[in-house]
Symmetry: C2
Subunit: 333 residues, 2 copies
Amino acid sequence: MEVTNRYITTKTHIDGAPKESHFGLKTEALALSVEPESNVIIVKNLYVSIDPYQINRMKSQSSSQKSISFAVGIAPGEVIDTHGVAKVVASGNPNFEKDDLGEYSVLKEGTILNKLDLMGFPLTYHVGILGYSGLAAYAGFFEVCKPKKGEKVFVSAASGSVGSMVGQYAKQLGCYVVGCAGTKQKVELLKEKLGFDDAFNYREETDLYFPDGIDIYFDNVGGEMLEAAVDNMNTFGRIAVCGVIAEYTDDGKRVAPDMLNVVYKRTRFQGYLALDYLNVYPDFISTTSDHLRTGNMQALEDITSGVENIPSAFIGLFCGDNIGKKIVKLADE
Amino acid sequence: MEVTNRYITTKTHIDGAPKESHFGLKTEALALSVEPESNVIIVKNLYVSIDPYQINRMKSQSSSQKSISFAVGIAPGEVIDTHGVAKVVASGNPNFEKDDLGEYSVLKEGTILNKLDLMGFPLTYHVGILGYSGLAAYAGFFEVCKPKKGEKVFVSAASGSVGSMVGQYAKQLGCYVVGCAGTKQKVELLKEKLGFDDAFNYREETDLYFPDGIDIYFDNVGGEMLEAAVDNMNTFGRIAVCGVIAEYTDDGKRVAPDMLNVVYKRTRFQGYLALDYLNVYPDFISTTSDHLRTGNMQALEDITSGVENIPSAFIGLFCGDNIGKKIVKLADE
């Protein structure tokens, strides 16, 4: 049996904001049979994760990123590797059978497919909040920021995939949590659904207001927000630099924090990647699934359907279109 | 007995580069006698430490610094508190006798005078390299940077009071050490006297050349050098932000590092102050005095005489006039 496989590629390198014209939909014929014991597994992709960092791989690469394997450039026309969940269609690998569900990351060296234990949660949770987005939030907050109960936590892009989790972890720990987001609707959601102590719309309110300062700034955006946070940090404050979305599509844009404040207030900045913290993955899964089951934490997901809508879903990340984890559904189970 | 006490004050707040006209020499009459059991101690100041950070106290204060006790503003006309060594002239305190030597810091709340054990070293060592400058180097390198043998260490203002010690500690640990300084003479000194593996003149060579990258950047200057270092950091590199001299006299000047690099390379920045590390003071003293006695480390000092020369000594710090720890000698023992 042969099917038509459809996938998205980039047509050129993308050095500014991504546009529909940068992307193309390709098709190829794919045979759905494998030789026994060939180790080959054919999967049907069900859901894929849509992540802002991928834009950095689509750029004309800078020398600094070349050396980082998972940040390696995506050449125009090439298949774009990502993370998602899939169902086994045909397997020449004794560890997988037809209809097994798997969580996968396609890397240059090949595909890593792990059997998926749903643990009673929807498939989509395993793409985002129980996947790398969740791990980025958990590791960034607990391992990088080393939070203590009662500390003042500020989260930017707080209604995004990572920020929405960080704010909820912080609330569970007993922190005072303020988030910023780009619409009134998102601000309401943070306060009413996710239990943030306060939230504001950064497009309308330009002055940060932290009468008691910030102990922990969880930074997803960089830019002016990082500068403002630095000015409001308490002594011995910690900044987890998780993302710099303000700079992803504008190479010339730079953060210029007041380093004199950094010295006097002994501020710590730490860039990090979720993949560095696979050691806490079991803790992350058990803590998070407990909180989700008890209803202490909410999953915030934003799901679009159809491979052809991957470009618009991706582009939307840079306009703040998504609320929560952006996922594209490619097929029914 | 009464003497004439001379001291330097600022005439105005200083918001840019300090100039001779900003300072004045004042005199006052001082009686050299104390009531028995009054606890009052009168000292003759012998040597004082001249430090760049004091300029931040002379500015029209920013709100962020107001809350930091040892960064509290110096009002024009006021006595400038500092660190130094002194000899007791008269004592109404049972713990001190005439001619005792003391190491002191004058703070707003009063004077802290500790009895000084010379340990066989010159008095000046206790003002700088065995004082706060040395502690800043020791704590910043060992405690903040957590160095490992063989790592690549870059030090800016490497011939300064702190940088010259950091580079030597790094060499003692077995690191590969590169320093930058602002004159050919300083560069030669780093390589020939202090044993740096390499050094360059940042005024002439604008491209950093680190074929194997930088694991640890010990930053005394901020500005463009910090940006360049960020671009050359290895993964999991550490940056100790000890000083930002490039910004002290130019409030508008800011560092704008590439935060995308910070994320991908998991760079850590840490602002710190020597005073936070008094817990390692005994280790610092024992390690450093051993290295000085065996000749493994060299003391780099730059001593001027006369209270009237304090302003020029201080101004010179911002022009790179000093080589090593800047000290002003006020009186003979």
